[in-house]
């Protein structure tokens, strides 16, 4: 029987196979749809492999396959391989599932794209899936970092898929640079950790930690640097600014990369190294507070958005903050659980939003309305996703959200707990605001747009993934509502009812404001005018980056440029001028007369003889 680790390895290899075929066989890529079929076929195989690997590793079974990559004096400096256990294989399955569904969905969503662009899109998709899976099964931090950078690259390529659009090109750059700022921290952290521990390998590190052999001095800096990488990738405050802009990319890309998989890489990284972070409680406290603040700010921002994708983007940021808070409270398992359920229903929400956008040709909520009548299927699946996100019992996000709240309470973090309860309320509010505005309420004022043809439900290639995800969300919700997994902690009894109550209150408020219009939205905005004003300006984070960081960088590079131009170049110019003058002076030695050279030889021999004699 084959080692189960190889089954896990097959999943990324299938994707990279698809990528290589599309990258090398250019004629196939230019055909568009056939290229998509190749990629989807490989994705389906990868899903089968991932499911098998998950089944094989469901218990405490761990497979570890490691090959030497950079040999150094008998042992290996760097390795590459597979570390498959329960956590990584379930994550692998999530990635395989969402990427397969997104690839199928894209067939319908991007049907109007030119053939060449479609082929390119599927090549990027395959590369992304490969990199993400490589990250998930990485047995050491080095492979993890390489894949980490690869997914960043794919994110850049896919956000900028419509590179003719200036906004998309700008957003791609912004995403790349902002995450890169965090990645530098991650790299520094990994290298520092290597210096401290002498290995990149996760298993070996874990053994070191378990034996208490890892020196604690300076470990806080290391874990903080690693956390910085997660801040950039998982869009934590203050580096969250790239994620809303990343919505310029195609909606399926947002579903895959910016909701379900890549942005959760930071959470996954912290979960994978939770035993390391457990040694540095001060850093964990920072993680929790930053997570809570991120969740709150993003939730407030989501309330004032009119663009359905941006609502979802801020919601993603907010939910990532949720997961981070749970990890910061010391219960990485709860955060990871929410990551998985969130991956499913947030992908569902994004794909549903994509179906709406596809139908009305606009991102704007005010251009939608009464869509429930014309696209009932989309309405149903979107509402399922929304209920999951709000944390209503029987739906996907219910238990995982409650787990997080319980974990934070158990961790003794009262401040973050209160914030998270507030965020739960806001989440229900803004999501149902979107639902009421889009599917019910008033019909859109068609004056603003060239009247779109009657919106209707999407084709099968798009609705099938939607239904699969919706049913999966429901299944998860129902399963976990009745069978509570053995918890790491016992949440207080009042927690579940109050969490649900808060969510229901949020839904009710949204109903009153946007459906019944019993409360004026403007009045609400006036009541919270300072918050509203701050949110309008995105809490000045973007402005801060633009004004202070960008200008500071410009001033610094100006100073460095001056230094280079006048000091460094100046020294070089002086030296070269001296060389020229010296050469000019020494030129006189070359008389060009053969006899002078013979004389030089004679004197040289004389000097050599004297030296031999007397030295």
């Amino acid at each position: 029987m084959m080692d189960a680790g190889y089954v896990a390895l097959a999943a990324p290899l299938l994707h990279v196979l698809a990528f290589l075929i599309l990258a090398i066989v250019a004629p196939l890529r230019r055909l568009g749809r056939p290229a998509a079929y190749v990629s989807i076929l490989c994705a389906a195989g990868a899903l089968a492999a991932a499911l098998n690997a998950w089944r094989a590793h469901a218990g405490d079974q761990i497979s570890r396959i490691v090959w030497t990559w950079l040999p150094e004096q008998g042992q290996s400096l760097a390795t590459i391989g597979v570390l498959a256990d329960a956590d990584s294989t379930v994550m692998l399955t999530l990635v395989a599932l969402v990427s397969l569904l997104v690839q199928v969905y894209s067939l319908g969503y991007l049907s109007d794209e030119p053939k060449r662009a479609l082929g390119r899109y599927y090549a990027y998709q395959s590369l992304f899936a490969f990199s993400m899976m490589g990250l998930v099964i990485a047995p050491n931090l080095l492979q993890l970092f390489i894949c980490w950078e690869l997914v960043g690259l794919c994110s850049y390529l896919l956000i900028g898929f419509w590179y003719q659009k200036p906004a998309a090109a700008r957003a791609a750059l912004k995403a790349f640079w902002t995450t890169k700022a965090g990645d530098v921290g991650l790299l520094i952290g990994i290298v520092l950790l290597y210096r401290q521990a002498g290995t990149f390998d996760l298993t070996e590190l874990q053994v070191l930690v378990a034996n208490g052999a890892l020196p604690l001095a300076g470990l806080s800096i290391i874990t903080f640097c690693i956390y910085l990488g997660a801040v950039g990738k998982s869009a934590q405050f203050p580096l969250h600014v790239w994620l809303p802009d990343a919505m310029e990319g195609p909606t399926p890309v947002s579903a895959l990369i910016h909701a379900a998989t890549m942005v959760t890489a930071g959470v996954y990284l912290l979960m994978r190294t939770a035993w390391l972070f457990a040694l540095t409680p001060d850093v964990l406290l920072i993680v929790a507070w930053i997570g809570a603040i991120t969740a709150l700010l993003a939730a407030i921002l989501a309330c004032i958005q009119n663009d359905v994708k941006r609502v979802l983007a801020y919601s993603t940021v907010s939910q990532l903050g949720y997961m981070m808070t749970a990890i910061g409270a010391g219960f990485a398992g709860a955060g990871f659980f929410h990551l998985l359920t969130h991956g499913v229903f947030k992908a569902l929400l994004f794909l549903g939003a994509g179906a709406m956008i596809h139908a009305v040709h606009s991102n704007n909520l005010s251009d939608m309305g009464r869509l429930a009548r014309s696209m009932p299927q989309t309405a149903i699946v979107f509402i399922i996703g929304t209920l999951s996100l709000a944390g209503i019992p029987m739906f996907g996000g219910f238990l995982s959200k409650e787990e997080i709240l319980g974990a934070v309470w158990e961790g003794g973090l009262v401040g973050p707990f209160i914030i998270l309860m507030l965020v739960a309320f806001l989440t229900a509010f803004y999501m149902f605001k979107a639902v009421f505005l889009a599917f019910f309420g008033l019909a859109p004022s068609h004056a603003s747009h060239a009247a779109p043809s009657h919106p209707h439900d999407p084709p099968a290639s798009m609705s099938l993934p939607l239904w699969i995800l919706a049913l999966l969300s429901m299944a998860i919700g129902v399963y976990f509502t009745f069978t509570h997994p053995e918890p790491e902690f016992v949440s207080p009894g009042w927690l579940m009812p109050s969490a649900v109550g808060v969510a229901v209150a949020g839904i009710a408020l949204a109903w009153l404001v946007y459906q019944r219009r019993a409360i004026s939205a403007d009045g609400l905005a006036r009541a919270f005018s300072p918050v509203y004003y701050a949110a309008e300006n995105k809490f000045w984070v973007d402005a801060f980056f633009e004004k202070v960081v960008a200008r500071g960088a410009l001033a610094f590079s100006g100073a460095v440029g001056w230094l280079d131009r006048y000091i460094v170049d100046g020294v070089l110019n002086v030296i070269s001028a001296w060389t020229l003058t010296a050469g000019d002076d020494l030129r006189g030695l070359q008389s060009g007369k053969a006899q002078d050279y013979v004389y030089g030889v004679a004197v040289g021999v004389l000097v050599l003889l004297l030296w031999v004699q007397f030295a």
Partner: protein
């Protein structure tokens, strides 16, 4: 003082004096003649060293061949310039100092070493030995030498040919 020693000293004086005359003489033609004398003196030294064959070669090639070529060259260049070429020296003091210092150090080094034993006994006919060595052990250098001389001959003809 043995006869050998007497002959050596006489020849040495002749050699040094004629050499000095070669480099110092104002008249180039005289300088060439002094060179001929110096080369002949060297042939005498070879005779003292019982190398009769080399002495003969020295006389034939050097004193005969080279001196003739030199005289020929002087005549040609004088004819072309249309004036007698007088010899002058430059930088005499600096050159003399450097060369004297060099000579002093070399001679000092020679005499610092313990004296070598007297001449080894002569076995057999030296000319025969030389011929034997040239034709057996050193046959390859010998052939290469022939090639070199052929190339030199052609080069000299090429250089000296009249302008087309």
């Amino acid at each position: 003082m043995s006869l050998d020693a007497l002959a050596f000293w006489v020849l040495a004086v002749v050699l040094v004096v004629s050499a000095l005359a070669v480099v110092l003489s104002k008249n180039l033609f005289h300088a060439v003649l002094w060179l001929a004398l110096a080369l002949t003196g060297t042939a005498g030294i070879f005779l003292i060293l019982e190398a009769e064959f080399l002495a003969a070669v020295q006389l034939l090639l050097y004193a005969g061949g080279i001196v003739t070529i030199m005289v020929f060259a002087i005549v040609v260049t004088e004819r072309l310039v249309g004036e007698s070429i007088s010899q002058t020296n430059r930088r005499i003091v600096a050159g003399a100092l450097a060369v004297a210092a060099l000579a002093g150090i070399i001679v000092a080094t020679i005499w610092r070493q313990p004296a070598t034993a007297a001449a080894a006994a002569q076995t057999g006919d030296i000319t025969r030995n030389i011929g034997h060595a040239v034709m057996t052990r050193y046959v390859l250098p010998f052939e290469l030498l022939a090639l070199l001389m052929l190339a030199g001959l052609m080069g000299a003809i090429y250089f000296a040919r009249p302008d087309d």
